[in-house]
């Protein structure tokens, strides 16, 4: 071996081309009786500071070589610095032939050490470094450069033994992913939302496992799957692991719908300001603001909530909405989001002071809040409904979302509108229900960007069949108190069937439905149809009997309402206005 190197030293150092010619695997490899064995770690950071851990298979061979040299008694510490290139491309772009070249160099250096240490042991150590200029165009550059200049110069100018450090930076990597350690990858992934995380999971096994095992990422995905957002309170107080557990508990509770012991809320404040009821539980975790259906048909006060479920303002005796040059008659308005309000124009009931004449009125109108720069959209209802002249929408549920409270909260973007056309004064035991996720409107508007001009007319066929669900509901009928309630994407209705009464919860959240479908749950209902109007929107339907307390108060006629909230159902009894909250979980 020393002879071999002497051969180099005698050459002209500047004559690189000739050096390259000499360095070939045939000259080098036979000198290395090395058994290649896969070794995970070649020299770790503690053992030899600043050495990289070799993890990847392609570098294992090299690690094996090194191991061999380390275990041999020759050099005290032998390692080789394979540093990043100073060339234009970095060593990540190495492949094929280049990698071979590098390995060859590595072997060569290895043999150099073996040859040297015999007579150079015991003297003060030094480090030498090999440099690589790598580029796709000149794969041989590596060999030439390291041998021609650095290696030879160092090896033969050294009076001292060599202490080499191996730095094996991502030679096998060749990619962003594999060259980064997990903790950096996690830091990157933590910045992404659930859609990106799902996409990441599908790229390769490593990311799949990484995303699947990291608690924070798991929580992010689980939140999305449950249609929840991370709440301020949890961020400040609870570790992620616990929040994840709570979330899973919450999810399971909604899936099973088992009643817990009633929590009687020691009325922090429950006000009945007719016709609007507010209720707020003690810990501010729950917030309700809704208008119970009163038996007055001409309800003059309307409260409007914003997309976060907060009460914005009340409209008093306002039958007209003046929007630009158009004038709508509507008793009902909801905020779809910060920019749009939805008006229900299907209000031609007999007692209205001004019956609506225009046929265009039988639609849901989405009007921009800022009047200057946008146009309105008219979502027509099915023909079937147009023919029914004496119907009005009883605006049952508030279109409520959650406020940022608690450990997590329902995404305010995902809310359900539940419209119930009904004939005033009649005592039908069944009624139509149209359930429409708010996203049906907002997504349509997003995909049909606004321009100035006439209102966009959206026929029923274009939005309804896939974006709404029409059913005929029985057993809820007209009552003095609301039997239906909505929270987020769930809808609750209380029925007085049989002896006890029951509660049905419909869940329209697309991701929760998708999950239920993936599990093969039988409770998924696909759409519904009434009078030839077919809708396809799926939902999860769960029916459970009323718990004992509310069942009794229902039988005694004391019940004032049943409201859905994030964690369960709030039953309000007329007796001293105490609020009994019955949580599912």
């Amino acid at each position: 071996m020393p002879g071999f190197f002497r051969h180099y030293s005698e050459r002209n150092p500047t004559n690189e081309a000739s050096n390259t010619a000499v360095v070939g695997p045939r000259q080098i490899l036979p000198c290395l009786p090395v058994q290649l064995e896969p070794v995970k770690t070649c020299i770790n950071r503690e053992g030899v500071q600043s050495a990289f851990t070799v993890e990847h298979s392609t570098s294992c061979e090299f690690a094996g070589i090194l191991q061999q040299y380390r275990s041999s008694e020759a050099p005290t510490k032998c390692a080789i610095l394979l540093s990043e290139s100073s060339g234009q491309k970095d060593s990540m772009s190495l492949h094929g032939k280049q990698r071979e070249s590098l390995l060859r160099v590595a072997l060569l250096i290895g043999s150099a050490i073996a040859g040297m240490t015999e007579h150079q042991r015991g003297v003060k150590s030094t480090v030498f470094r090999t440099l690589y200029a790598t580029s796709d165009d000149h794969p041989e550059t590596i060999t030439r450069f390291s041998l021609g200049l650095d290696l030879r110069k160092h090896l033969y100018s050294l009076e001292k033994p060599v202490e080499l450090v191996v730095l094996w930076p991502h030679l096998s990597g060749m990619s962003l992913l594999s060259s980064l350690p997990n903790d950096i990858l996690l830091e990157i992934l933590e910045d992404l939302d659930w859609r990106d995380l799902i996409a990441c999971k599908r790229t390769c096994h490593r990311l799949d496992t990484l995303v699947g095992t990291a608690v924070l990422l798991h929580y992010t995905i689980e939140l999305a799957a449950c249609g929840m957002l991370d709440g301020e309170r949890g961020r400040l107080t609870l570790p992620i692991r616990e929040r994840l557990d709570r979330l899973k508990q919450h999810r399971e509770a909604w899936r099973n719908l088992t009643w817990t012991e009633p929590t009687i809320s020691p009325t922090s404040w429950v006000g009945l300001t007719p016709p609007i009821l507010f209720a707020r539980s003690v810990d501010n975790d729950e917030y309700f603001a809704r208008q119970p259906a009163t038996n007055t048909h001409r309800c003059t006060t309307k409260a409007v909530c914003n997309s976060h479920g907060e009460l914005l303002f009340s409209i008093v005796a306002r039958d007209y909405w003046s929007i630009g040059t158009e004038e709508y008659q509507s008793r009902n308005g909801w905020f779809l989001n910060e920019s749009y309000i939805l008006l229900d124009l299907f209000t031609s009931d007999a007692t209205a002071a001004r019956p609506i004449q225009s046929p265009s009125a039988r639609c849901l109108v989405v009007v921009p809040i800022s009047l200057s720069d946008a146009r309105s959209y008219r979502f027509f209802q099915p023909e079937f409904f147009q023919d029914l002249t004496h119907w009005s929408h009883r605006i049952i549920p508030w279109c409520t979302g959650d406020v940022d409270q608690g450990y997590f909260y329902a995404d305010p973007e995902d809310r359900l509108l539940s419209l119930r056309p009904s004939t005033p004064g009649s005592s039908l035991s069944s009624q139509f229900v149209i359930d429409i996720p708010v996203r049906t409107f907002t997504e349509y508007i997003q995909s049909h960007p606004e321009e100035d001009g006439a209102p966009v007319v959206v026929p029923w066929e274009e939005w309804g069949p896939r974006g709404a669900r029409i059913t005929l509901e029985t057993g809820t009928g007209h009552a003095r108190w609301p039997r239906t309630s909505v929270h987020g994407m769930r809808q609750l209705s209380v029925r007085e069937d049989a002896l006890r009464g029951s509660v049905t919860v419909l869940d329209y959240h697309p991701r929760r439905v998708a999950r239920a479908l993936a599990r093969g749950d039988a409770q998924v209902v696909h759409g519904g149809s009434v009078g030839g109007v077919v809708t396809l929107l799926p939902c999860i339907e769960t029916t459970v009997p009323l718990p004992e307390g509310p069942a009794r108060s229902l039988a005694a006629g004391r019940m004032l309402g049943a409201w859905l909230c994030k964690n369960g159902v709030l039953f309000v009894e007329v007796r001293d206005f105490s609020v009994a909250v019955l949580y599912f979980c």
């Binding site: 030899v48 500071q49 600043s50 050495a51 990289f52 510490k77 390692a79 610095l81 540093s83 990043e84 290139s85 100073s86 491309k89 970095d90 990540m92 003060k124 150590s125 030094t126 480090v127 470094r129 440099l131 202490e163 730095l167 930076p169 060749m174 990619s175 962003l176 992913l177 060259s179 980064l180 950096i184 830091e187 990157i188 992934l189 933590e190 910045d191 992404l192 659930w194 859609r195 990106d196 996409a199 990441c200 999971k201 599908r202 790229t203 390769c204 096994h205 490593r206 990311l207 799949d208 995905i221 689980e222 799957a225 961020r235 697309p510 991701r511 998708a514 999950r515 479908l517 993936a518």
Partner: protein, 173 residues
């Protein structure tokens, strides 16, 4: 110490008196920086502690090129004397690092460079820089499809067709 070239005393600028460090990049460039600037790096700090313990100062060899090293030094110089929560080893981990405008501009570089910087920052244990780089990389893949992500991350699809079509992910929405 293996990473360290034991250099002649003459090459270590003013040992003891002025607090200077000699950093040697992988392309054999010798860069002298004030210790103060690099104190943001936990790695360097530990090295310096080592110097003090042994009262021997060495050059510090670093496994990345001077181009990258200069970039990191630029970062450290900019935040010289600033307190950044992420870099405080005693502070509780702040969770997500804040967006710093200067960092965004500083890291407006190509993908390879970004990668080198994040690795250098990781090696040098500069948490704030790692955080900012991670954010920049996340920006590159945000909103991309799985196929585009493979392209950017440079990974091969190592799923079998069955695995790919099975609903392995719980969230199918």
């Amino acid at each position: 110490m293996p990473t360290i070239v034991s250099v002649d005393d003459s090459t270590v600028p003013g040992e003891g008196s002025s607090r200077l460090l000699l950093l040697v990049s992988s392309d054999n460039k010798h860069i002298v920086v004030e210790e103060d600037i690099m104190s943001r790096s936990r790695f360097i700090s530990k090295q310096v502690e080592g110097f003090e313990a042994t009262s021997q100062r060495h050059a510090i060899l670093l496994p990345f090129s001077s181009f990258v090293l200069n970039k990191v030094i630029e970062y450290c110089s900019h935040y010289r004397g600033y307190y950044l929560l992420e870099d405080d080893p005693d502070a509780a981990p702040p969770g997500r690092s804040p967006v710093r405008e200067w960092d965004q501009e500083f890291l407006d570089v190509d993908r390879n460079m970004l990668l080198r910087i994040i690795k250098a920052a990781h090696y040098l244990e500069i948490k704030s820089l790692v955080g900012s780089c991670a954010r920049a990389i996340a920006d590159m893949i945000r909103g991309k499809t799985t196929e585009e992500m493979r392209e950017i991350l440079g990974v091969e699809n190592d799923f079998t067709p069955e695995e790919e079509h099975s609903p392995s992910s719980k969230c199918t929405g």
